[in-house]
Structure formats: C-alpha cells, structure tokens
Symmetry: C2
Subunit: 316 residues, 2 copies
Amino acid sequence: MNKASKIMIYTPSEAELYADLIRKDGYTSVCSASTPEEAEEKLQDTEILMQWKFPLHLLEKPAGKSVKWIQSLGAGVDDLMRSTSIPEGVTISRVVDQFGGPMSEYVFAQLLYVYQDIARSQVAQKKKSWQPFVTELLQGKTIGIAGLGSIGKEAIRKARAFNMKVYGLSYSGKEAHLVDRHYGPDEWMDFVKDLDILLLILPLTEQTRHIVNRDVLMAMKPTACLVNIGRGHLVAEDELIDVLRTGHLRAAILDVFQQEPLSETSPLWELPNVYITPHMSGPSTKERLGQYLLSNLTRYQNGDALLGVVNRKAGY
Amino acid sequence: MNKASKIMIYTPSEAELYADLIRKDGYTSVCSASTPEEAEEKLQDTEILMQWKFPLHLLEKPAGKSVKWIQSLGAGVDDLMRSTSIPEGVTISRVVDQFGGPMSEYVFAQLLYVYQDIARSQVAQKKKSWQPFVTELLQGKTIGIAGLGSIGKEAIRKARAFNMKVYGLSYSGKEAHLVDRHYGPDEWMDFVKDLDILLLILPLTEQTRHIVNRDVLMAMKPTACLVNIGRGHLVAEDELIDVLRTGHLRAAILDVFQQEPLSETSPLWELPNVYITPHMSGPSTKERLGQYLLSNLTRYQNGDALLGVVNRKAGY
C-alpha cells in the first residue's frame, strides 16, 4: 500500500468527516459513502474499507474484489463474522483500547445510581424533604466480569478502587491473574452464583450467543444486578423478561438489545428495576476514532502489525 | 481505666444499641442517654463520654467533672471546638478512617449522575424513546480536593481509577505527594482556577469558615462543578446562591448546609443544577461504628494512643 491506495469510508453518518481527516494526513484516494447505493457506485478498486454497517454482500460483486483490509469502526464485529461474503484472505480489524474508559464510566454511573438510590434523593429534593437514609455501598460487593479484554480491564481497575471483589470469566484465560477468581466458559453456574453484579462485555460469537439464559439468571442471587454492555444476543432476552417478572434480580442495566432500536412493544421499557440506554455506553469521539484510524493506516502502510486484528476462527 | 470505669453513650437515637454492644464486650458500667435531661441525670462519675450532639454545657456542672475522654461518634468536631465547656485536660477524639469509602462513593455517584446525564436517560426511557447521545466523561478532567485526610485519600484513589488529574489543597501539606499539584491555604485562587470539579472535605475551623466565598467561586471556570461533603459553613451559602443565579458553575452537589435541616425557604432546593442530599454521604453503619468504638476503648484501657485524637489547637 502507499498513500495513493484507494480507501473507502462507509458509515451511515459522518463518513465524509473521517474521509476528510484521512485526506488531510496525505492520503490521496479517499472516498466516502453513506448508503448502499453510493457504496456500490464507488467501491471499484477500493483496497481498504473502513466501515460501520457496510452492505457486505457487495464484496461478492466484481467491484468488491480488490478489498484487502476491512477496518470496523466499532469494537464488536459479530456482523462481519456472520457474513459469508468476506473472502478468507481479507484482513479484518476492529477498534480496541478505545472504549474501556467510557464504557466503565457508564457501568459505574449506572451501578452507583441504583445502589445510592439517587432517584429517591431526586424525589425528596423536589418535595424539599429532608429525610436522610443509608445507601448501599459497592465497597465489599463482588462483581463478576465476563470478558476480560481492554474494556474488562478498565472495569477491573475501577472495581478495585471501589474496594470490590472481582471475579472474571473469559474464554482465553490470559488475563486470569487480574481477578480474584477466574472461570472458564464451562463454569457459568459456578461463576455467577455468588455475584452481586454480573457485567457482560463478551464478544458475540456462536459460543456466547444467549449464553446468559434462564438457568444462568436463576443461578444468580435474587438480589444481584445484571449489566449488559456487550451485545444484546449474549442474553436470552425473553427469558430475562420472564425472570425479572418473577422478582428475581435486583436490577438489569441494559445498553444493548437483541433488536436495536429496542421495539416500543418490548416489556423491558416498563419493567421495574430495568434501566435502559440506547447503545451509547461506548461512544467514540470523532477525534479519538480518527486518530485510531490514522494510526492503523500508518501501520498498514509500513507493513506493521495492525491494532485489533480479528481472529476469524475465535470470532473476535 | 478498667472495664468498670463508667462510660456514657449519648446520641439522640440508638444510644442503647451502642451501650449494649459495649456491655457485651465486658464493660460493666455503661449507660445510655438520648435527651439532655437523661444525660444530666446519669452523668455523675462518667469517665468516658461517647457522644453525638451532647449538651456540652453539662460538663461545667459538678456531675461532669469526672469526664476524661470525649469520643465523638462522627468525623467532624467543629461543635466541640466551638464549645468553651470542655476543660483543657479532656482528651477529644473523633472517628477517622471510616468514612472514606462511603463518602467517595457518594461523590462519584453524584458526579457520574451529572456528567452521564442519567436524568436524561430516565426521561427517555419513560417515553420509550431511543435517542443515543454522547455523555461527558470524568476521564481527563481535573478534580481539586480540599482536605487530604482519610476521606480525601479515598477520593484520590477513585479519581485515579477514572483517569482524572488530581490537585489538592491542605493545611498540613503532609499528603502533598499524592496529588499532581499541591496548594497551601493561601493559594485558593490558584488552586481553583483550572478545576473542573472542586471537592470540599475540609474540617470546619476558624481558618476554613466561609473560605469558599464569592471570589473563590467566581475564580472557578463557569463550567466547573462544586461538591461539598465537608461542612456547610465552608461555603458562604448566600454568595453561592448569588453566583449560581448568574449561571456561573455547571452544578453544585451539596450534602451539607449552614443550617441543617436545610430550611424549606432556601432557594437551593429549586435552583437548577443544584443537587441536594440531607447530610447522608458519610453514614456509619452500626456495625462499623461499634467496632471502631470498641477498638478505641481497648486502646484507652491499655494506655495506647487513641485513634483520631483531635489537636485542639488545629481544631480537628
């Protein structure tokens, strides 16, 4: 590759913004597209595809055959893994080490909101009512983190600062030393049974799809709290709804859902103790994502190892 | 002292609970009182007074003359320092190292509530509205902590886990090495000018009374946030109200007030971006406070140095 190799930026919004940024760094053949039609029209000769929600079937067409590297603009690549349109020789990379800070801030904001019962303080303030109460603390509680990548590691750091016990479950086991107890993929029931909080940050793969089902949820303490910032399909959503309706679980903090946007007819919106946000826990600021893309482009150009290369066998 | 020395527990509520706990540890002369009348009636021969809001003028009466040690049940002792009824020879101690965890959880809960705009997410959920937005992060922000005792140190630990810059102001300077920049008591204006968040945990003394006045507040960035979990009188409350009314400061998170309970007529209740809680950020659970009292009793009995002895000259 050289700076004249053709790069396409595809994302439903702001593609041109990133294209501009890359052009300013000296790349001379950069195009942007925001719709499938535009993508098809401009795809010819593209070597590098930086994309979010790209219409992957286009890669089977003659115009798509020159793509050698697909850089996802997000952390999760389950959509790319499910696709059968990406030839084996194409390198796939994702964004890593960008979301740990923001996503763990989201997690602790929501947990503290629940445990400190800030809603109660807000209501009291509206009534000008002075009624102190004792809040529950994170200190001393046990958080179980499923997924010990760069996001999990930031969550561990914060949990330690809150004097929590930290258990972890991961498929590779390579970060086992960071947690007080480590569990493998066959040990979900043991993993969850003593947790006060279960935090899901796993990638979605064939192995993790609906891994948190009724049995796992019922094995959790009735007072435990579920937090999902990974992917909606990690949880069997219908079974979660059933379990919540029985009064099991203290809270479910959900940023991701099986179908997004979450349908207006989903009972989750109105179930007590369910806290819903619209897949926003891991925002990429344009500046940081732009820097990340440029840095990976430089690596590609120099033949250095890319950041966040996906192991297509493992699925993440 | 021996286990037969007379101990009085005085607190408007739950005095008998602590008295019981101490009796169970083998102390044979323990009484409790919850009203000034009861205190006066039972005070005779008391050597150790463990108290919260005790009617201090009783110490000037003959029945109060045997008191040698006053253990406060809280962290702040400004009421004891203001009193002229406590003879110089009486040892005063306060509770230390108990509140850092809970109070710093309060601080981060409230800050994250503001910066993550959880109120907005709550409103959106009620409307079943899926509208992602980018939240502001603590990461990269600068927090200035005024007061670097055991509570300040826990706040520092958490701020570090959130990847914040940490400045500190303290009177002794002995914890200066824990912060990125340290300021002394004559450097308030320099201290506050670059802060995103000013956290007040100072004890109330003649030196710190109304130290955060209009000038200090106006020297802060208009987008900065004030958090007071120390004492209400650290802040000139009327001046804070004036400053907030001009739109200066992004938020004021207040757990303590000049007069408590906060009067229903205070404008603070209704000012936008003011978050009020009723002096509850540092709750002592009965268990932990009980253990602390027993541990200090053992030290007293053995002639060991007490925890939390107050330097009456410094005022804390």
